[in-house]
């Protein structure tokens, strides 16, 4: 965190100053480790085993916050008889189809209390209406394959986890509970059995973590959690960029929930995002599968009209139950007066999903010639995305490519100086892609908001004019939209209506730029009187309200840009509610009803945050209570209640159907209701936990430029992992081009342990060539004790550290580690696995065509065939 997020890390140092224990878990010893109390070296890609070990420690030592767990989680919920755990199926959960590589989650469900549902009718929320696809459900984890699997249904191919938004998957009305937690089929007991084999010895075997160090971490974490104390977890892509990424976060959630560290001050799980407004770009998404505010993107055949679209959520407990209001207000904000009740508020104008349209699937479609145009904005996929060769081959196969950036990045110049030009795999004259480079304004050259990881919007004003013809994104897209609409003016083609009917009339500010505050106000939403709304609870489904993103409603309340508030923290209380604005409703800690005991009193004076004031008959505290303001702690909802009415007085997790935090996910996670450790797709280690080596649900990307190293291969005996350095920014476009940053880290290097250096004859400051089945790159060598040799039982594992900032352009140039990274994707969110295996040899890599021959020789020796590139053969 100090390495990649030094500014945010100031608060960690502040906490340390006040006595917090800082634990850093990372394959290498970084700037964070240097100031931490404990550094835990870990084998890259083994995080679930480590966190699972902590879960097991909590469960076997009765170190959970029992009152919290019983009242606020689904620990007491009874799971149906059909569920079979990995313990019995050697690494698989029930419902796995080996042919498609997908799970059918039906057997994961809670025990039913109502009458048995019709076959395949898995979503009781749909029971009220006809189910038009009898044996499928858009919200189940059961999805067809991209290339036309056997179950030819129109399923929600979208990542199940984020199509549920903050609402989680809809499930049956509240399941039966055993609050003694003794029932063998209650979640708590299932959890105990599932994690029982994640012992400290197993953690050592999988992660290479000394049991004594592990014990110290477990002790520090459990002794700092409970009624009086809370602990926070912070993570970045070291957890998520894996073929099991979503499940790693699930494990962390289970751990924090068992310890009572969610919804309470000082607790939580903080995702450290890679760019300034990545949170904002999921809230107002640049993703294919969601609309603003985590409303799912409709599917072509499943959602033929608005009623079908909102049906799955309409009956849900909690605030997701009002999805129709949020959707209708969104359509009204986009299409204004053209959106009417008669035309379903222009629901038909929305594009529809027909499958997986995520970034890596799109790259494969580019290579296959099925995707012909590409906008690249604020990204440098030629350097920054996994399997750089695939990125470049895809871009070389387009009709047109638009790159908007501050600098002439590799993505705009791959056609003349990319690695494939050097090797002859691509020839400049033969690349037909027409490339447009458009200069972009930087963040100080335009006004706008950032939304950071705490969901806080912070407005910044423009400091200087951008140079030359550089423009802000807002100016560019507004102008582009205006010109396209001019071209289409007068068209009678139905297809053009969505563009022509758009509300596209933003005013300019004093400086002549399109006024970003007008956009923010549109996102906030307006009522029938045209005035800014102040809360999403005001949104209506009759078309009388407009709102561009329901969770942002209130950021412009009373016509004030609340994101621009900058009252310093020393002028207000600890919550600092008048600095910026956090969604939803300027709430700084989500689910904060959990900061009080079931009876509504604070768990402790020390951790007092939000509590029930019986005299006033409402929830009060320093933050905005995340609960229905006047719902008493002893409230029991009426039978059959839906929406917010169904929330009980002790259901803090108001966006979940059952109001409880899910230790076990009966729906909504593609690769299992519980996390299990699987090895990365390329690993030098046999999975010690199950005979199932890799995530059975992982998505393979089968194409000749994505061959996978066989696991346990002597040809590729080492682990590599990539990361960032403080001195550079991601793919380097914003730092390798600046003298003052370049001089601080002027050359691409790899980091190796003294033991690995001795084993391969690598010299400090000498050159090394790092090889995978995809490519080989060269780097200068830093031999350092900060890289640890890990002992996994009898096996020693060495890791090669690769900062990934370099490419062919800029003041300093170098090979790109992402050319080594394979594409094997997490089945929930389609992220790649940043960990792989490699060989490392002293000396520089071969040049030109000799490089491809060199890599081909490695493939031959390792038995990798490009015609079946993702074959997961494991040497006996």
């Amino acid at each position: 965190m100090a390495e990649a997020h030094p500014v945010g890390f100031q608060w960690v140092m502040e906490a340390k100053r006040r006595g917090a224990t800082i634990i850093h878990v990372d394959p290498r010893f970084t700037r964070t480790s240097a100031v931490s109390d404990i550094h835990v070296p870990i084998r890259a890609g083994s995080d679930i085993a480590f966190l699972g070990g902590l879960v097991n420690h909590v469960l076997t030592h009765d170190a959970d916050f029992r009152e919290y767990v019983v009242a606020y989680t689904n620990a007491a919920s009874i799971v149906g008889e059909d569920f079979i755990d990995t313990e019995e199926l050697d690494g698989l959960f029930s419902g796995f189809d080996p042919e498609t590589g997908r799970y059918d989650p039906e057997s994961w469900q809670y025990e039913r209390t109502d009458e048995a549902p019709a076959a395949g009718q898995r979503d009781p929320a749909q029971a009220a209406g006809p189910v038009h696809e009898p044996d499928s459900d858009p919200r189940s984890g059961d999805r067809s394959t991209d290339d036309g699997g056997k179950r030819s249904k129109d399923l929600h191919e979208a990542a199940v986890s984020d199509t549920h938004g903050s609402g989680g998957a809809p499930i049956a009305s509240k399941p039966p509970r055993d609050e003694t937690l003794k029932d063998p089929r209650c979640v708590f007991q299932i959890l105990k059995r599932h994690f029982a084999r994640y012992t400290p010895e197993m953690v050592q075997q999988v992660c290479g973590i000394d049991p004594q160090v592990f014990a110290k971490v477990a002790e520090a974490l459990t002794s700092n959690s409970g009624r009086e104390r809370t602990s926070a977890l912070c993570y970045a892509v070291g957890w998520t960029h894996h073929s099991t990424g979503a499940q790693t976060i699930r494990t962390a959630s289970i751990l924090q929930t068992l310890l009572g560290n969610i919804g309470r001050p000082g607790g939580g799980i903080m995702a450290l995002r890679g760019h300034a407004s990545i949170q904002g770009s999921t809230d107002i998404p640049t993703l294919f599968n969601i609309l603003p505010g985590y409303i799912p993107m409709p599917h072509a055949a499943q959602h033929r009209d608005l009623d079908e679209f909102v049906k799955a959520d309409a009956g849900k407990t909690g605030y997701w139950g009002n999805m129709r209001s949020y959707s209708v207000s969104l359509f009204k904000s986009w299409w204004g007066d053209a959106a009417t009740a008669e035309n379903d508020f222009c629901f038909d104008y929305l594009p529809r999903l027909t499958g997986d349209h995520s970034t890596y699937s799109t790259v494969k479609r580019q290579i296959d010639g099925r995707s012909k145009g590409y906008f690249v904005v604020g990204e440098n996929p030629a350097v920054g995305s996994a399997n750089g060769k695939m990125q470049r081959l895809g871009m070389a196969n387009l009709d047109w490519l638009v790159v908007r950036d501050l600098q002439m990045i590799e993505t705009a110049t791959f056609w003349k100086n990319g690695p494939e030009i050097e090797t002859g795999e691509l020839v400049t004259d033969e690349i037909g892609t027409e490339i447009f480079f458009l200069p972009a304004a930087s963040h100080v050259e335009k006004a706008g908001s950032f939304t950071q990881t705490q969901r806080m919007l912070q407005w910044r004003d423009k400091a200087v004019d951008p140079p030359g013809d550089a423009r802000s994104e807002l100016d560019f897209y507004y102008e582009l939209g205006t010109r396209i609409r001019e071209k289409l003016a007068g068209s009678t083609d139905e297809m053009d209506r969505p563009l022509l009917d758009l509300t596209w009339d933003y005013p300019s500010d004093e400086q002549g730029d399109v006024d970003g505050q007008a956009v923010l106000r549109e996102i906030n939403g307006t009522g029938a009187d045209g005035k800014a709304l102040s809360a999403f609870t005001q949104l209506k489904d009759d078309g009388s309200t407009r709102c561009g993103c329901w969770i942002y409603c209130g950021v412009y309340a009373d016509e004030v840009n609340r994101a621009r508030r900058r009252k310093p923290h020393w002028d207000q209380d600890l919550v600092a509610a008048e600095w910026g604005w956090a969604w939803p409703a300027n709430r700084r800690i989500l689910y904060n009803r959990a900061s009080a005991a079931p009876d509504g009193t604070p768990w402790s004076e020390r951790k007092r945050y939000v509590w029930w004031d019986a005299e006033q008959g409402k929830w009060v505290g320093s933050d905005v209570p995340d609960f229905i303001p006047d719902r008493a702690p002893d409230h029991v909802p009426a039978e059959g209640a839906t929406g917010p009415d169904a929330i009980g007085g002790t259901d803090p997790f108001i966006m979940q159907t059952d109001g409880k935090a899910w230790l076990y996910a009966p729906l909504g996670v593609a690769d299992g209701p519980l996390p299990a450790h699987y090895e990365p797709p390329e690993s030098p280690v046999r999975n010690p936990l199950y005979s199932q080596q890799s995530n059975p649900g992982r998505r393979r990307v089968s194409t000749p430029s994505n061959p996978i190293n066989p696991s346990l291969s002597e040809v590729f005996p080492y682990v590599f992992t990539s990361y960032r350095l403080t001195e550079h920014h991601t793919a380097g476009g914003m730092s390798r081009t600046l003298p003052y940053l370049t001089e601080l880290q002027p050359e691409f290097f790899c980091e190796v342990s003294p033991r690995l250096a001795a084993e391969r004859g690598l010299e400090h400051l000498g050159w090394a060539t790092i090889v995978t089945a995809r490519s080989a790159i060269e780097a200068r060598v830093l031999v350092t004790d900060r890289m640890r040799s890990l002992r996994l039982g009898e096996q020693m594992v060495e890791q090669v550290g690769l900062p990934y900032h370099w490419g062919q352009n800029g003041i300093t140039t170098g090979d790109s580690p992402n050319d080594l990274v394979n594409l094997t994707l997490d089945p929930n969110v389609y992220i790649q696995d940043k960990v792989g295996t490699c060989d490392i040899r002293p000396g520089r890599r071969p040049r030109g065509p000799a490089l491809t021959a060199y890599v081909a020789a490695y493939r031959r020796r390792a038995g990798v065939h490009q015609d079946e590139p993702t074959n997961q053969r494991i040497d006996p």
């Binding site: 100090a2 030094p6 500014v7 890390f9 100031q10 140092m13 340390k16 100053r17 850093h24 010893f29 700037r31 964070t32 480790s33 240097a34 100031v35 931490s36 109390d37 404990i38 550094h39 835990v40 070296p41 000394d210 049991p211 004594q212 160090v213 014990a215 110290k216 002790e219 350095l725 403080t726 001195e727 003298p739 003052y740 940053l741 370049t742 001089e743 601080l744 880290q745 002027p746 050359e747 290097f749 003294p754 033991r755 001795a758 400090h764 400051l765 200068r780 830093l782 350092t784 004790d785 900060r786 640890r788 040799s789 002992r791 009898e794 020693m796 003041i811 300093t812």
Partner: protein
């Protein structure tokens, strides 16, 4: 104007001839919270328009600017220091589990003994020390004392600043500095070093490095107040058992009369490349002049005597 050359001096600015002046300003750099982000180096260069240092991978940990000089006025040192040398696990059988060590905590885990910036994690434990170095703005600044042009001067804030438009590039200041801070620009031959952002101070602003520091490792303020803060921080760390913590340059009775920019270190100064006991190189200037004067008088006497002698002869 006659200023002191050594010893304790509580009003350095007054001593330099300012009758009314603001309090002495300086830096307290607490290396125990430094995370090595180098924001100070970059902010310094941006504000003061200092040229880059060239692009060379040095292999000295993450330090590629190496030392203070004409083009580096803030410099972050990175020191990798094994906690237990010669215990690299070569993977040979029978070496026992990693992490086995003689000093253990109550939990049976190896812990760094009284050290900070030293997260121990079993065998091969390492400390990675980071420290942002800067001109010390000495109470007795030899660079200033030897400057023949008056280019180096004491500001009203008690800091020491070079005026590039007056500097003639004689270079006397370079060997005079006991810390090796001031340096000549290779291209134009003039001397450069940290100005403690004199221009910002005059506008009531914080120096660029301190402004940019995310962890308050670099603290700017009145020297008297910074000394109190440093003493408190040292006591706090000692109480926590970090007995390697020490202050450097804080003592007004040391060889340079104390520094206007002083440090909290977690190891011997030499580990960071700092002289352990710096002494102002012009300490003996007074007595040298006395001796020189005496010698001159003697020479004149001799000369006169020779004339006299000649006359007499």
């Amino acid at each position: 104007m006659s200023s002191s050359l050594h010893g304790r001096l509580d009003d350095v600015t007054g001593d330099a001839g300012y009758s009314e002046h603001p309090p002495r300003m300086g830096f307290f750099t607490d290396t125990s919270v430094c995370i090595g982000c180098k924001a100070c180096e970059v902010a310094c260069k941006e504000w003061n328009e200092v040229p880059d240092d060239g692009y060379e991978l040095t292999g000295m940990s993450y330090d590629n600017t190496l030392e203070l000089g004409a083009s580096t006025w803030r410099h972050v040192a990175f020191v990798e220091k094994p906690l237990h040398p010669n215990t690299t696990d070569l993977g040979l059988p029978g070496m026992g589990p990693p992490g086995f060590d003689t000093h253990e905590s109550g939990l049976g885990v190896t812990l760094p003994h009284g050290e900070d910036q030293a997260a121990e994690s079993g065998d091969g434990g390492i400390r990675w020390l980071m420290s942002s170095d800067v001109c010390k703005h000495c109470t007795h600044a030899a660079c200033l004392d030897v400057c023949p042009t008056g280019s180096l001067f004491r500001t009203e804030f008690g800091t020491v600043v070079v005026q590039p438009d007056i500097c003639n590039g004689c270079g006397y200041c370079v060997p005079a500095c006991p810390y090796g801070v001031i340096d000549l620009n290779k291209e134009d031959g003039r001397a450069f070093k940290c100005t403690l952002c004199y221009d910002r101070l005059k506008d009531g602003q914080t120096p660029a490095c301190a402004q940019a520091c995310p962890t308050e490792s670099i603290q700017y303020g009145e020297v008297s107040e910074l000394r109190e803060r440093a003493d408190l921080r040292l006591a706090e760390l000692h109480e926590k058992g970090v007995d390697v913590a020490r202050l450097y340059g804080r003592d007004p009775d040391d060889g340079v009369g104390g520094d206007g920019a002083f440090f909290l270190l977690l190891d011997e100064p030499e580990v960071y490349g700092l002289p352990p006991d710096p002494v102002v190189t012009t300490r003996d200037l007074g007595s040298i002049w006395k001796h020189v004067g005496a010698a001159a008088v003697a020479l004149v006497g001799l000369g006169a005597a020779s004339f006299l002698g000649r006359r007499s002869s």
